[in-house]
Symmetry: C2
Subunit: 401 residues, 2 copies
């Protein structure tokens, strides 16, 4: 872990536009004075938001180059039709003009309520001042203001950074994120931004980003709902020297994993996290399917909340995952204690099992027994999620208009 | 609807064996003195319970013939290994001997806690008396005692019956069920029994049962967890005359739909039901996938509980279902009011929309717009479920051993 600052070549500014409510910064502009290679992963939801359509087009037309990213909280600009699209475009063009860059090099996304239009009368007047603030901003600033400006129902800003030092030269990877799960009423949702001063082509950055997402954001679940605005942006300013690709890869993965963990542990109604590791599957895909099914089971998640050693639910969820395996070969471990094997419960210390279900984190491991000998990543996978709580239901139900 | 009685050719008896707790009947024997054609659908869970393995084998070896069905509540006899299998077999053989029928003609299933063995010391002594009671039982008796004996956390017995009258001859279809969702801690779960005195071959009965299940039990969801013991049995005693196949088919479908509805509205923590109809899909399968995804969305289900007109969540859930459709063609109706079309919200009466989200039942309809003209069952499907409540989470979390 290193200081929570921007890498070289990145400046940021934030401003309040009272998009949903006054009294906070809810517009955040990231500015790369000398440009950056850019990559992004966007929601697969068919109702993806207007700014995502625009950013995807700009990334494509610019061949993976960007000078700025404009984010706002408080309104998702999703399910907003032609007006939503022209509002997103107006924001981008105003920022481009103020920064003196091509509109194609400006990306944009929004997070907040679905189905309402951006309050352009409050946003447009502050865009030029925001751009000027970004032009004048210091490099190496703290990530905190930026991370705070994109929060919706998050209770804390989410930031992470790593440094890789090679031959006395430092390469930095920094990231910020906002909460996952389509959390609060109509909220739409996860945004993460990963920045590095490493030298990377757009293609290299894209591959690193996909790899890191597969090991982090694609392995967490809050409520199984893919939102209309989920996005993960990555930028490489190239201001540092080239670095060992494997060290850089690891730093990016670690930053993404930090942010993903922060998203889970700051999910609505969070009380306890749980991880589901599956190994000994016939294929990686089958390990993924079983891990995901157990991690999304409402009954397993309720049991975790209650600290209830209901291992039968874990086994039953694995058994309905749609993956063929020999149930008599499955072994279940919770908190490292083997609980079930050969198709039946094992005699084990009940108080130790109870303790394993009652810690801050419940660790489940299922070995499907389809392979023997060394167990690697090729037939294993892991998901991270949380117990399902009454508070989650209350927060998502007790909103009336 | 007709009197809630058994059809001709069916007798039943129940007895208390204190399997989980004393003070109630928890063993139920259905007896067909002259035998019956038999069909069944069983859970697809790999960890299917010992009695299901046995019943599946008996159905196969008997070529769809049965004389009796033994059910118990309080213990699922699932994840119980070799001892569980021999216990199920011992129950079946004792019943067969007492009734004077071949063991192959006796089916069995259990419902209750996963991972504990049947208390054979309490069950075995009451099996012969139970069989004698069934031998002596009246025909045309009420379904109620039988339906009560298989209850677990159900708050009411679930029964339905229909009569088809042709040329002055009456054919009866009767059914009982117990609750769905792997409801209470470790519970494992749905059992339904459909009985008719119609004359049907095993193959005809099997086809009718599959068709009815597709239109009822396979179209409901309480929490998405397929249990280790889910089963649907059907028996035809042949004591009545043959009847118009379409009328009989409809009666069986209606009985199954009645029972399925009762299961949803008696689910744990139930406050409000919701239905999701999808039409205008490219294929039936795509309609099913979208309807199921919306029906299982935690956020949609939370909004229904809160009576919150969060239509954005419905649209977003449809958009992440993995089905390709043109989002600008989707139309969303709730309680008959068109809320969303052409990719954006429509102007509509907010108080009427609020009322549609606050009734006893919330009816959602999504037209994917992939087809024009007459809309039939070929590209439509419907799911029935309930709002997700804090009470559901509480019941499934606050159980400690």
């Amino acid at each position: 872990m290193s200081a929570l600052c921007f890498p070289r070549g990145f400046r940021a500014a934030t401003v309040g536009a009272a998009i949903k409510k006054a009294g906070r910064d809810d517009l955040a502009l990231l500015y790369m004075p000398e440009g950056a290679t850019a990559a992004a992963l966007f929601t697969t939801n068919l109702f993806c938001a207007a700014p995502i359509h625009l950013s995807r087009q700009h990334l494509k037309d610019s061949h993976g180059h960007a000078s700025a990213l404009l984010l706002n909280a408080g309104c998702a600009n999703a399910a907003t039709g032609a007006l939503g699209a022209s509002n997103a475009m107006e924001c981008v063009e105003t920022i481009a003009q103020s920064l003196g860059v091509h509109a194609l090099s400006v990306l944009v996304n929004s997070t907040g309520v679905i189905g309402t239009q951006l309050p352009m009368q409050r946003i447009v007047p502050v865009l030029a001042p925001l751009a000027i603030a970004a032009l004048c901003a210091e490099e190496n600033a703290s990530l905190e203001c930026y991370a705070r400006a994109i929060m919706t129902t998050d209770t804390k800003p989410k930031m992470s950074a790593r440094e890789v030092v090679v031959d006395g030269q430092t390469v930095r990877v920094s990231g910020v994120a906002k909460g996952a799960g389509m959390i609060h009423p109509n909220m739409a949702t996860m945004i993460a931004v990963v920045m590095t001063d490493a030298q990377l082509t757009a293609r290299e950055l894209d591959m690193l980003l996909r790899d890191a997402a597969d090991r982090s954001f694609h392995r967490i679940s809050v409520d199984g709902d893919t939102s209309t605005n989920d996005s993960l942006f990555a930028f490489a300013s190239g201001k540092a020297s080239r670095v060992d690709p494997e060290l850089l890869r690891r730093a990016i993965v670690e930053v993404c994993q930090d942010l993903a963990r922060m998203i889970v542990t700051d999910g609505e109604g969070f009380t306890r996290s749980m991880s589901v590791r599956v190994q000994g599957a016939s294929t990686k895909e089958e390990a993924t399917t079983v891990a995901k099914t157990v991690a999304q089971s409402l009954l397993v998640r309720c049991a975790v909340t209650g600290g209830d050693p209901n291992w039968g639910r874990i086994v039953a969820a694995a058994g309905r995952a749609g993956v063929r395996f020999d149930p008599s070969e499955l072994r279940l471990y919770v908190g490292g204690i083997e609980i079930f094997a050969h198709g039946q419960p094992l005699a084990c210390d009940a108080s130790a099992v109870l303790a394993a279900f009652n810690g801050a984190h419940v660790e489940m491991m299922l070995d499907l027994g389809a392979t023997t000998g060394a167990v690697g990543d090729s037939n294993a996978d892991e998901y991270l999620t949380s117990g399902l709580t009454e508070e989650y239901v209350r927060l998502n139900a007790d909103y009336t208009t």
